[in-house]
Amino acid sequence: MARIVLSGTLAPYTDGVLELQLDVANVRQLFQALGERYPELRDHLEAGIAVAIDNEIYQDALLQPIGRDSEVILISKIAGG
Amino acid sequence: MSRNHVSTTVNGDQVEFLCETEQTLLEALRDELRLTGTKEGCGTGDCGACSVMVDGRLVCSCLMLAVEAKGKSIETIEGMAEGEALHPLQRKFIEHAALQCGICTPGILIAARALLDRNPDPSEAEVRLWLAGNLCRCTGYHKIVDAVLDAAREMRGG
């Protein structure tokens, strides 16, 4: 099971839960699982969330594999000037 | 609306155009003569992107009526290179990476040439003061000043 860590920004949508274990093989599955568990979180996931899988940041990489014991941190997407 | 007939000299060529009295020289150059190398950045004489020479004077073409061009001699960026051969300032601007987006470049080149025509050996401070009327938002001016000083050196044969 991968260790999923949410940034404080998302706490309001997960009743304060900031860390959980999920059995997911890639980012798409992760977003799906989180969306089902926390419906309020769903809109935010694809809209504004990037993931750091074992400290490597991925934006818009739904098919990026997630290892069995990976640590996945959800962070806000970055744009720029 | 009756339009004014203006015949003038641009980069050595006799040209004629029709313009409304309200039209500026900049608008006439760009819209009537299709010489779009001269740019509009503000329309109020605050950015220098529209700099041209009129009878040997450096002016903002956005602050001159097109009808005033009658019988005058106008020089724009399109006339700066001699055929294939770039003016030393043009070459040095490329060499020194003195341009980025390039919107201010024609005006700055015209202004810089006007400076070197009257002062072939300007100090850095003199270059900065002379070019104060030409805004550039990309470069921070550093490489522009280098390019002008280097072109001056070359033109002096130094």
Binding site: E46, A47, Q59, Q64, I78, G80 | K39, P106, G140
Partner: protein, 764 residues
Amino acid sequence: MAAMLKYEKKDLKIVGTRPPRPDGVDKVTGRARFGADYNLPGQLIGKVLRSPHAHARIKSIDASAALTLAGVKAVVTRDDFAEMPDEMAAVGELMINFRDVTRNMMAREKVLYDGHPLAAVAAVSESVARAALALIEVEYEILPHVIDVVEAMRPGAPLLNENQYTAGVKPKPDHPSNVAKRLEFGCGDVAAGFKQADVIIAREFNTKPVHQGYIEPQACLASYSADGQAELWTSTQGHFVFRAQCAKVLQMDVSKIRVTPTEIGGGFGGKNNIYNEALAIALSRKSNHPVKMVMTREEVFRGTGPTPGANVKVKIGCTKDGKITAAEAELNFQAGAFPGSPVNQASMCAFTRYDLANVRVVGNDVVVNRPKVAAYRAPGAPIAVFGVESVIDEMAKKLGIDPIEFRLKNAAKEGTQTYYGPKLGSIGYIQTLEAARAHPHYSAPLGPNQGRGVATGFWFNIGNETTCSLNLQEDGTLTLNLGTVDVAGGSRAAMAMMVAEELGIEFERVRPFVGDTSTLGFNFLTAGSRSTFASGMACVIAARQVIEILRQRVAKIREVPLEAVAWKDGRAQPVDASVAQFAPMSLPEIARMAGKTGGTVAGHAEINAQGAGPGFGTHIVDVEVDRQTGSVKILRYTVVQDVGKAIHPAYVEGQLQGGAVQGIGWALNEEYVYGDDGVLQNPGFLDYRIPVASDLPRIDTVIVEVPNPNHPYGVRGCGEVPIISPMAAIANAIENAIGVRLLQQPFSPPRVLKAITDAAAATR
């Protein structure tokens, strides 16, 4: 493909040199065509009617008189654009709320700021179009307005959107608010951290909005034909993103809009979103003529996005020996008339540079009656960093520790845990601090009323969607079609250099250009310092594809096994004599035979680049303060930055110098000045004071190169970082010169002189 190419150290022939940019000659001869330089036969001129009020309900808009004026061909208002639901929708890979996009483009129920578009006309000439605007009658119900972020947050403040409830707070608020969103980042236990502190410093800062100040006003030309196809030429940082936005608001198929990016006369984030583009297409559709729309400078200031003004509170706790134990910040950002300030990124940039156990950052995204903010170079970061680096400087002084030494004591390095999520990878922050400390500037003597300041900056840098195609032409030269706009930093040169390096040929044999939206798949904006990193990665992939095909082709032609063919120095050659011997083939030789041996050779890449490497910078500035007038002169400036790898060092220096000078303008004189009526008072280059050549010294640069492990040449990106530090560095230098700390940007003479007099009065 979510791509990530690892860094390989190798000898370089072209990368790292300084060849002339492909767009250079056109730009010095006036041939380069910018947005306003395009024209079509029969084109009309489009002009926009803008609100003179900061906040008003639109009771009616009557354009009938304008339509009867000779030469007027079309008028569009809110009625010509579909209502869009209040939800995030995709534009390419961006998610935007199109309810807001349509309203910012053309006001609907209310005008929300001075300069808000209400109607657009297309006419046979500029003068007729202007006359027509004057004939459009609008009936307003004036509403109370609010432009200050702190006032806008107060209960009872005039509401811009009566249906907006603050997101990110639990339980869901029962009153609507101008605070669109509340964010919170953090790690550790801040309260405990402050308990461990021997010294705690808390300060409050305020900044004004500043404009990107590109010299080329927005300009576009649209042509809609009866078969429902539209062509658009526009000055943009992302023609694919503009196409997506136009398609959505005009309810057209994406494939039916073809957008050609013109040369762009500066953007810096300000040309990331549509303003006139959809209006021009709508006017063309209605009038059956091409329509050209060029903004005046006044329109640029009143109608396009500045960066937010903000209220920033920073609190830092530290032990006697200089270890930071806790850091806290509150960032209240103006979003302008619609939500979406960069407070999110600013929150993440605020303290990232330091290795901190206990951090809490709260950000508020607040709507006010000002133009909707747009991105500006490292969006939001300079504002947060102004506050943080000011307090860091004050802390170092209080503890009697050299400011660079103090930063080194707390510096982030590889493996440092960030408070917004992941651990940092390989970074060069410490290297920039050490290079700055070793620079002669840092130890040069100072005169009376002169001071020296230091500040540092961090930016993530990003990757995102990028495409390109590389075609080998029949004479052995190559054309490189790029989908990521060259916003003038010189990325066309950098891309061609990387391709030439891969192929082992001369730079001049690769001709790069930016293709229109019909020639390639979707590309993200040129923003976030992504172009050389992401587009560069795509170009390397395409070049390696070409090499692969060339090897296969030569193996067939020379009838040797593929493994026997190596690509070296621009030629296919035997791996070594023992494996096979055959006459090497040069690129032109293969190119000539390509058609007859299976078709022309091309490589292409459609990637979503991952693995961007963060950038860090350290700035040193010397100032002299005129105590009698409050005037601040920049005497000397040095930018030290880790760029990963400088593909074209001269263009990297240009980014560092240009970014620093934009930061200097931000610090000293740039600001939006509004009257009590909420009307902008300085919408021009005379009273909106961007730096001129005589205001400035030379800007020294030191390029640090700590390779990004996730790019074949180690590129990180360099455009954003240099604008982050100047405001703080200059505030610190002023304090060092006269012992007075500026808490309000800009540090304009009246403010500085007042600070000096107030300080003198306080000590008396």
